[in-house]
């Protein structure tokens, strides 16, 4: 299969691989996918308490190049965004940016799900209600 240049770039030079302290109250963790499906994505955000801005984002992904690229791109986009703005990231934006073919759209869906799960994990830790999302896939 031919991958887009952007997918190859993220695969070869993934941004923000790593792990944040999932016990920290300012860190939200989203873990989506399943090993038997061939994709597991973990996305973490660290939120600045005072400003509500995401100051760091990390990912680790088990999956194909498109899954790796989708999560790598997501961490780039998350950094510096407010939690509310992050909640609005739509998987189709990832599809467009990475020029994902139809069979790889699920990779972008996973990334969006991981973002939302991470934000809700953070919200729950902060004593807030999780945000219900009609678009929720997981």
């Amino acid at each position: 299969m031919a991958y887009s240049e952007k997918v190859i770039d993220h695969y070869q030079n993934p941004r923000n691989i790593g792990t944040l302290d999932k016990e920290s109250k300012t860190v939200g963790t989203g873990l989506v996918g399943a090993p038997e499906c061939g994709d597991v994505m973990r996305l973490q955000i660290e939120v600045d308490d005072a400003t509500g801005v995401i100051k760091d984002a990390k990912f680790k992904t088990f999956g194909c190049g498109s899954a790796i690229a989708s999560s790598s791109l997501a961490t780039e986009w998350l950094k510096g965004k407010s939690v509310d703005d992050a909640m609005a990231i739509d998987n189709m934006e990832i599809v467009e940016e990475l020029a994902l073919p139809p069979v790889k759209i699920h990779c972008s869906v996973l990334a969006e799900d991981a973002i939302k799960m991470a934000i809700n994990d953070y919200r729950v830790k902060q004593g807030l209600e999780p945000i219900e999302d009609d678009k929720k896939h997981y």
Partner: protein, 403 residues
């Protein structure tokens, strides 16, 4: 070194230059139809085919009269399985095979079932070998054919062919083997091995694509198969169609070269394979698939846990290997052979099949080892599953958010 490095010789092999040279006159100089009886064009083509038939037969210990040329091993398997079913239908309708066979065998067996036959599919052990006791237990008074491959194309495992043929003989059942991966690589002898029908092909042993053969035993017992194509009655009436003279000449030459060089080649490739395997197994959570002892010398199939198959293929693009996976992903089919070994119980691994060949060099093996190690380490560094494994978390205990 030329990239990508070709390590997929189980899929096909490049042609040996000596084979190509032997074929060239038969395209436009000696282009005759081997069935033309009335002129020298036909005679010289027939003479070339006769000579090749000797070369091909000699490699497997058969007489030239027992070689039926086909378009390849797929056709040979079809002819053997469906041909036996049709020829011996009055004696029974049951056949026995194994779940790890090539699709050409499995799909021909499916066809037999559609035609009213019954087929038992034996499951191999975890190491790919079958239990002879399972085979004996599967035999009924209606069994007419046992078809079990010699060496497996994905994992290289070599079955106990003599043990299988002894059981077949004792029960008066014909034994067919798909020896596509074994002939020319290890000694195969239809008499010593007790084989009644044997499929093989030229392009797996440095010959041309589009030509293969079915060995059909003529004595003790005399075996016949019903032809699967109607026509001029070539090949003793079992396979009609004008003979592919250049292909057959090349097949013959390829067999002759294998016969002369196979023993040394097996030692050389075996040493290279062992070195490749030893190097890769220095990595954590890397495993050999298939029995490591009863195996073709040039094949290694290795699983790497916590690495996804498609990602691994993308990371190993400088080598041409075959990738299998026991988990489903959008564009990578899981390997039914690895699944048959019970590998689908192991979550999250992918495997690479290395097929070494006549033209593989030590330098290429060194590169492949480094290349694969780098890719696996890189993918593990970014794998949440690898991290969990290293933290001692049981992946099977996690409730995954499946999508």
């Amino acid at each position: 070194m030329n990239f990508p490095i070709y390590l997929d010789n189980n899929s096909t092999t490049p042609m040996d230059p000596r084979v190509l040279e032997s074929m060239l006159p038969f395209f436009n100089e000696k282009f005759g139809n081997a069935a033309s009886r009335n002129h020298s064009f036909g005679w010289s083509a027939e003479e070339a085919v006769d000579y090749a038939r000797e070369q091909v037969g000699r490699l497997i210990g058969s007489t030239s009269k027992e070689i039926i040329f086909t378009s390849g091993a797929t056709e040979a398997n079809n002819l053997a399985i469906k041909g036996v079913y049709e020829m011996y239908g009055s004696q029974g309708n049951h056949m026995i095979t194994v779940t790890t066979e090539h699709k050409a065998t499995l799909d021909a067996c499916k066809k037999v079932e559609k035609m009213g036959g019954e087929v038992t599919y034996l499951s191999p052990n975890e190491d790919g070998l079958i239990n002879l006791a399972d085979l004996e237990a599967a035999i009924t008074d209606k069994t007419i054919l046992i078809t079990i491959m010699y060496g497996n194309n994905e994992i290289g495992v070599v079955q106990d062919i003599k043990g299988i043929s002894a059981i077949a003989k004792k029960n008066g059942i014909l034994f067919h083997t798909d020896a596509t991966q074994a002939v020319g690589k290890i000694p195969v002898d239809v008499l010593a091995d007790g084989i009644d029908l044997l499929s093989f092909t030229a392009h797996k042993m440095y010959g041309p694509k589009g030509v293969g053969a079915l060995y059909v035993r003529r004595k003790n017992p005399r075996v016949k198969v019903t032809s699967q194509m109607d026509g001029g009655g070539h090949e003793r009436g079992m396979r009609s169609g004008t003979l592919n003279v250049p292909g057959i000449v090349g097949f013959g030459k390829a067999c002759e070269i294998c016969q002369n060089e196979m023993a040394d080649e097996a030692v050389r490739l075996g040493a290279m394979r062992d070195r490749l395997e030893k190097e890769l197994l220095t990595m954590e959570e890397a495993y050999v698939n298939g029995n490591a002892e009863h195996r073709l010398p040039h094949v290694a199939n290795i699983s790497f846990k916590f690495v996804e198959g498609e990602g691994l293929m993308m990371g190993t693009k400088d080598i041409a290997v075959s990738s299998g996976s026991a988990c489903t992903s959008a564009s990578l089919e899981p390997s039914y052979v690895l699944k048959s070994l019970g590998l689908d119980d192991e979550l999250a691994h992918s495997s690479l099949r290395f097929g070494l060949g006549r033209f593989t060099t030590d330098e290429e093996i060194d590169f492949a080892v480094d290349h694969v190690k780098t890719a696996v380490n890189k993918l593990r560094d970014m794998s949440p599953l690898w991290e969990m494994f290293k933290d001692g978390i049981d992946l099977k205990a996690i409730e995954w958010a499946e999508h």
